[in-house]
Amino acid sequence: MSNSPDDPDAAGPRQRHVEMGVAAFILILGAITIFGSLKVGIGWGAEGPKSGFFPFWIGLLIVATSGFNFVSAYAKPSRKLFAEWGQIAQVLKIVWPMAIYVAAVPWLGIYVSSAILIIGFMRWLGRYGWPLTLGVGLGLQVVIYVTFEKWFLLSLPKGPLEDLLGL
């Protein structure tokens, strides 16, 4: 934390721009809700209000409040930063591996993916030596396997390696 987001020299996206983006995103979700409600009917049917009745009004409220949030973020003269680029890079360092991890789980199974995630993370960001890295990365998989599959009898997703090992 060399400099705070209030530092005028620091660079990064402005808080109000991000707030406008978030408000616009929520507004779009509200619009989708309204659209979807209209499709199933928002009027009065045989069993009372139709399926779209309640979500339609919810959608309207989302659009109205997000519209207000968008305008008030736009009108705010503040130059406050959302975060510095460096901080955003930090966050991305965990978002990318996580995205790959999530995509890999159905193919590799949860054990292999998790081991790769932990080992990669500890080597790359933590710069730990191999013994500790492998110990945590592989040891946790054993703990998870015993706890979930043996103790609580919950089956977790498995991949080619588990097939090979016959687990």
């Binding site: 979807g36 199933v40 009065w44 959608g59 409220l61 997000s66 995630l117 932990i118």
Partner: protein
């Protein structure tokens, strides 16, 4: 005094070796969860919920509620020793708790915090024991309109009492309702808002939302701050504990006031966080040493901790008696009841007596066990915090992913968890409250059902919500809560200058 007899029955249920073991495991896990960044009461319970599917409901709720108590205790440890609030409700504890630790009084601060937590929780459990059966028997006569009015009041309280801008609170809450609406319409069985996607047929599960919003979102926030833990040593020994206990009764007024604030804020779903701030603020104004607050006053630790625990515990009162949870963690526990096949709400007190009183009895015992565990194991918990973030972060991510997967044995849920996590990061940074969002996802279907049934009775007239004195009163209270920021603003602008003249 029927409830005393029922409570004794509850103790009989709880006092088995197995349940006591679950209690201790729950407390220890809870404190660990409370201490670690990225794991909190709500998502800790959400992750472990699938593990309880095969247990008896009573054992399951004992384990999960003890995790909740443990998490409430755990927040204080990080606040005092590391100046890092492990949970949002322990932010106020850092104000005086950490300065005390810096002065070398970490033991006193921790003892005061744990004991106050215990007192707050005990007060709230007594309130639950006495009030919950009454509220429940009263609520048994509720029709759909009354049910909806209670939901209405609960959600309006978020708008009125939250510190976030009202339009953001409403936007977040309505987003939750919209997410809850996706999938099968519970009233007519029709599909809606799925847009032909098979993944959305089942709708959004709030457990996935909780794990993503609170777990992954929190990790991202911690990553951004680039945390490095620099803690004070945890010196706690029996002499310090006894010494502090001798001192504490002097502050009974602060304790009692904090208990009342906490219970009030917990039952109306404002939650533990505002309760702790409010209690700290009032204690600061009321105390003789008010100007010394912030420099390490023991009263500044007692006030927020008592209120936070009283609020966190009393949040279970509306959950049990009305089916309306007072906090995100209570909402997750409510989701648990549904999964175990129990219907939360007033009927629970009639149909599942053993379960309800077992839970209430476990609250008494759980908090006693909790106090003993935290007082004796502080050094162990503090050591966990010294594990570097580069090791803890991926491990927590993996645990969250497994938790999300086991809810429905579905890999797509793990993807949704990450989406909710990124959304949570942005929402939190842009000052949108997450608690009403989660509660809306949990209660959306029920609120909608009550709303539509009411309209069906009245043939579409909104007048049904003002048709009887009870419904009208609750709805009016809701409207007052909804417009409270506006009303208090108006009061400040119009009346105060007028009075000055």
């Amino acid at each position: 005094m029927e409830s005393i007899g029922d409570l004794m029955g509850g103790f009989a249920v709880v006092l088995s070796w197995q349940n006591l073991l679950y209690m201790v495991i729950g407390i220890v896990l809870g404190v660990v969860i409370g201490v670690l960044p990225g794991l909190g009461g709500a998502n800790g319970v959400a992750i472990l919920l699938p593990l309880t599917f095969s247990m008896s409901p009573t054992s399951a709720i004992i384990l999960l509620s003890c995790i909740y108590w443990g998490a409430l205790f755990g927040g204080a440890i990080t606040s005092i020793l590391f100046n890092i609030p492990g949970e949002p409700w322990s932010v106020a504890t850092t104000f005086d708790g950490h300065p005390m630790a810096q002065k070398g009084q970490a033991g006193e601060a921790l003892t005061a915090a744990f004991t106050s937590s215990f007192v707050g929780a005990l007060f709230a459990v007594i309130v639950i024991t006495l009030a919950a059966p009454l509220v429940a028997s009263f609520a048994l006569q509720f029709g759909p309109a009354e049910k909806f009015s209670v939901f209405f009041l609960a959600f309006c309280s978020f708008v009125g009492m939250g510190k976030e801008p009202p339009t953001k609170t409403i936007a977040a809450m309505m987003l939750g309702f919209a997410l809850a609406a996706v999938g099968t319409d519970t009233v007519t069985g029709q599909l809606r808002l799925t847009f032909g996607s098979t993944e959305l047929l089942g709708g959004f599960d709030f457990l996935i939302a909780v794990i993503g919003l609170f777990g992954i979102g929190e990790i991202l926030l911690t990553m951004e701050e680039g945390l490095s833990f620099k803690g004070k040593a945890a010196g706690i020994n029996p002499a310090v504990v006894l010494q502090t206990w001798k001192e504490l009764p002097r502050y009974w007024v602060t304790s009692l006031r904090s208990c009342l604030i906490g219970c009030w804020m917990g039952i109306t779903p404002a939650g533990a966080t505002p309760a702790s701030f409010m209690s700290y603020g009032i204690a600061k104004r009321a105390s003789k040493n008010g100007d010394k607050f912030g420099t390490g006053e023991i009263e500044g630790v007692i006030a927020p901790e008592t209120a936070a625990h009283a609020a966190g515990t009393s949040a279970l009162l509306p959950m049990l008696s009305l089916g309306v949870p007072g906090s995100p963690t209570a909402a997750v526990l409510l989701g648990g009841l549904l999964i175990w096949g129990l219907q939360p709400g007033p009927l629970l007190f009639v149909e599942q007596k053993e379960f309800v009183w077992g839970l209430i009895a476990s609250m008494y015992l759980g908090n006693i066990v909790g106090l003993v565990v935290v007082l004796t194991m502080v050094p162990f918990f503090a050591a966990i915090l010294r594990i570097p973030f580069a090791i803890i972060a991926p491990v927590i991510l993996v645990i969250c992913a497994i938790g999300a997967y086991t809810v429905h044995n579905n890999s797509f849920d793990v993807v949704m968890m990450l989406v909710f996590g990124i959304a949570g990061y942005f929402l939190k940074k842009c000052n949108y409250p997450l608690a009403p969002l989660v509660l809306a996802i949990v209660l959306g279907d029920k609120a909608e059902e009550a709303f539509r049934q009411s309209l069906l009775i009245s043939q579409g007239s909104l007048g049904v919500f003002w048709s009887s004195g009870l419904v009208a009163t609750i709805m009016s209270l809701g409207l007052i809560a909804l417009f409270w920021p506006f009303l208090s603003n108006l009061y400040g602008r119009v009346l105060t200058p007028a009075l000055r003249k």
